[in-house]
Symmetry: C2
């Protein structure tokens, strides 16, 4: 079978060795993940402002398609918190403008995101995910977690509140606090307290009763289903719906419908930017999880094929009544810990969720929304982590600035503005740093062939030769700076006859920098100074040889700085003491 | 006087030594530039879709303000072709939407651009201009020149045509070609032929009559005024206005009015992006000219103060009935060649243009628009230069892609889309290149302390030690690639005990890369392999010492790769032959 076919269908690889043992392991993992995924799917659909069944639908077809196309053995795909919040923001934008219904917008968004991801994958652009720096991702996740937790407070309190940003949400909740419903608060805070206790206290407790650590872990992760079951019973028993507690209500029973996205150009234009951001954020989140888990078993993730896998999942979400999905952190870890060995576990999970849509939906009628909100709050608060602020502050102020701006803008202007600014800022900071490269005048360490910074070492120089080392690749952002610095160094040294640019740290020279070198060569020529290069790396020299720059160069290209000084020095070298006297 | 005051008012520096000789030189230059600037100002106002007097107004107050705040001795500020075209596009956008009148929009645009430039200057962000790579600027200028020349064809033919892009303009002109007016064509093509002949033939002719080269040059530059005078007389004598030739018509006589920009938030929002792009493009064009001229006299340009100077000029344009201005190439060269010595020449030019608005405007009534269009076409076609395509194709395909995309998008989607995409593409290409740094496994050159690529040189290695050199600073865009490559190199080498990362070409490590190093360290530890660094540069090491990374590091940080190998090697080195056998 040709390798390209295998690359696009990883199932052909792992499917060949699939046996009964692997199937049993996958089935056990699938059962556990299904139990965890039911309340989560409902809750995230609520967060996205969509009917609860869409959360379940988003956990069926996408999982099957990821099993076919994905490369991670343990990744569990489905609705996740951040992408749900971004979906809510995107839907809000187009429905405020054009009166599009939320369901159509969500389906279309998933479909567009799928096309975009597959496109990136086929173009082999997986590396783009690397442009999100760790600090930006960390700041974005933390701030999103806070926004999500705050947005869910309204369900816990039983008030109506709106807003995409932290200040708007807080103001809106404060304005409506009078509407708070005591029964809702009891259910909401009760669930919150239970879920927090499970996180902190259940595992040690189970440990004391001799339950193995892994089983205790899984029990902890399954706690939300207990909260769902108990609060549903309570809401049914005490008829809390009649007392103002908002319930999930009627959920259509049956398998997901076949849906088609809208192809209205206005809607596509309105959603395009959101689809791109959701795809990238989703991809980065998914890949981080997949790589972490793959590393534990010495497996590898193919970034470009992952794009295809996630793209197919999102197309599936769009065709099967869902909304944008990606690989989730918590559920993937549970899947891995429960022993999932192949993507088939995902397909089995899809069967489990499909069974739930057929048989369990009537039971969800009395499920309080406050319970779902509590599960979201507990899940996202675990993502909030401000330690990156402290760490970057100590390590590099530029990275600190990127985290701080990302957090502030995500809280203050919303998720899309936050993550976009973070990316732009990271790139600008990087360009700024490389736009002013470190440049050092160098001299020879006496008795050696080594050349070092004259400001840091006692070295020998020659009054007619200026040797400059530049510690960065030369490209458009630093080309002009290079020119300026060299002109500055040459100014007021009439005895100068040679300038040698030592290129040992120059890994590339782009067209802009080449033009700057030409300009330097010309300008120095007008001053009667010859311009030389030394220690040019092989690939850089190969490229220069393709131009007429070497013909115009007034000086030479020396293999080593030592060769350059031997050829150019006018007499015995100046000692450090003489140098100090002339400076 | 404090230096900061001097920095913001360069006039205090050159004003102190201003004497009669300098004044005479400046006056002569000003007279010549005035003659050149009158038809140019009228023509560019026409190109911007504004009343002709606005071009004159834009050449008065801005020049005075640049004389006060600018640092270039020879730069001539005023309306220029590309910025006029961008102004036309920006005005078109807001007047299509909101029905704002063009004059108010242009004044507001100049004012906003001025504020933005001054803001950048005070924040000392002049370096941002470096983010426009030479190839992108070159492609943008060439494509803009073609769009401008095509847009002026309608005036030469006497047809109505609309569009911001080359295809739209060509289609529109073709659709209206039936309306062409023979008298207009005669004037237009006549002027074009005359102006092209002047460029090619006048200078040699004058040379044969013994006119000095510099005077011949200036006569060539003043030719448009002759075309203007002759065609105005012809239009008046033959009453061409009555025969369908479009004339400039009534131009208000008198000094520019004091104008105020609109402060309507909608208008500011609509113009914001255009103001930013016009400012940056204008600044880059202006600085290139100023630096070229300053270099000829060994003078220096202060980028940040230039921002303030151009900003003040644009505020002046907004207050004095003008539209966005910048330093123009042709006129600055004329100013320089005519002997201008200080920015006072610009102030004298302003007086000349002011006199023209008072005394000459009635004479402009019969000036055919076709003549002005011809002067524009001749001026901009000299900017069209496709050689950059050929040069970049040979030198670096990435740079070629940036030029080609900039040209195609500027022609096809308009100036703003073209230049924005060019900048984004340059940055993406740079990030892409640095995101996959060159990495080499190195070994010791026998009998030396040098370590070289095992693939290129016959070197000695040790089976238990893997030494890897990475030829790029480590940052977010290449951090993950570094991890992947190291894991790949380690895979399937169970005898490995040490990995040494040789950092001689690593000029910086950002937070993302630090986290990757931590991940590598942890992962190698799990495999029983120790992770070491060698040849870490001083500033990079200082920063690492502020973190707990050195405490977690399973290996050591060696000053040199030679030290590392001496400490880690398990026995006698493998020769190149043995190596080949094990590979």
């Amino acid at each position: 079978m040709p390798d390209t076919v295998k690359r696009y269908f990883p199932i052909l690889e792992w499917g060949r060795t699939y046996d009964r043992t692997t199937a049993t392991n996958d089935l056990v993992a699938a059962a556990i993940v299904t139990v965890m995924l039911i309340p989560q799917s409902l809750a995230y659909a609520l967060l996205a402002g969509l009917p609860p069944e869409m959360g379940l639908y988003a956990s069926i077809l996408p999982l099957v398609l990821y099993a076919l196309f994905g490369t991670s053995r343990a990744l569990a795909v489905g609705p996740v918190a951040v992408v749900s919040l971004m979906t809510a923001a995107a839907i809000g934008k187009v429905s405020a403008d054009g009166g599009i219904d939320a369901v159509t917008a969500a389906i279309t968004l998933a479909f567009m995101s799928g096309l975009f991801l597959i496109g990136l994958g086929l173009l082999r652009l997986g590396f783009l995910a690397n442009f999100l720096s760790h600090p930006v991702i960390s700041g974005f996740i933390t701030a999103s977690g806070l926004v999500i937790a705050t947005s869910q407070l309204k369900h816990v309190l039983g008030v109506t509140a709106e807003g995409d940003t932290l200040p708007a949400l807080v103001a809106s909740i404060a304005a409506h606090i009078g509407e708070a419903n005591p029964y809702t608060i009891a259910i909401g805070l009760g669930s919150l307290a239970f879920l927090f206790w499970v996180r902190r206290g259940l595992k040690p407790l189970l440990g004391r009763f001799g339950v193995p650590a892994r089983a205790a872990d899984i029990a902890t992760k399954a706690a939300p289903i207990a909260a769902v079951a108990v609060t549903t019973l309570v809401a049914w028993g005490f008829d809390l719906g009649a007392r103002g507690v908002k319930l999930v209500g009627a959920v259509p029973q049956g398998l997901p419908p076949l849906t088609l996205p809208s192809f209205a150009p206005d809607l596509w234009a309105g959603l395009a930017m959101s689809a791109v951001l959701i795809s990238i954020i989703g991809f980065v989140e998914s890949v981080s999880v997949a790589q972490t888990l793959a590393a534990r078993k010495r497996q590898r993730i193919d970034l470009d094929q992952e794009l295809v896998g996630l793209g197919a999942s999102n197309i599936g979400a769009g065709m099967g009544g869902g909304y944008p999905v990606t690989g989730g952190f918590a559920r993937s870890v549970v899947n891995f810990d429960a022993g999932a060995e192949t993507p088939a576990a995902g397909a089995f999970t899809a069967v489990g969720i499909a069974l739930a849509t057929v048989f369990l939906t009537p039971l969800l009628f009395y499920l309080p929304q406050a319970t779902l909100a509590a599960t979201i709050i507990v899940a996202v608060l675990s993502l909030v982590d401000f330690s990156m602020l402290r760490r970057t502050w100590r390590y590099a102020k530029a990275d600190f600035a990127a985290v701080a701006v990302t957090i502030l803008l995500t809280l203050g202007l919303g998720v899309e503005a936050g993550v976009s600014s973070g990316v732009v800022l990271s790139v600008l900071i990087h360009l700024y740093k490389t736009s002013r490269p470190h440049m050092a005048v160098v001299g020879r360490v006496p008795g050696s062939e080594h050349f070092r910074n004259v400001l840091r070492h006692k070295v020998e120089t020659d009054p007619t030769v200026l040797s400059v080392r530049v510690d960065e690749s030369l490209y458009f952002a630093n080309a002009r700076h290079l020119e300026d610095r060299i002109y500055d160094m040459v100014a007021g040294r009439p005895e100068l006859k040679h300038v040698v640019l030592m290129c040992s740290a120059v890994n590339a020279i782009d067209m802009s920098a080449l033009e700057s070198l030409e300009a330097i060569n010309e300008r120095l020529d007008a001053l009667g100074v010859r311009f030389h290069l030394s220690e040019v790396k092989g690939p850089v020299m190969d490229r220069l040889m393709r131009t007429d720059f070497p013909d115009h160069l007034t000086g030479e290209v020396f293999l080593s700085q030592h060769d350059a000084m031997r050829a150019l020095a006018s007499g015995p070298p100046e000692t450090p003491q003489q140098q100090a006297a002339t400076q």
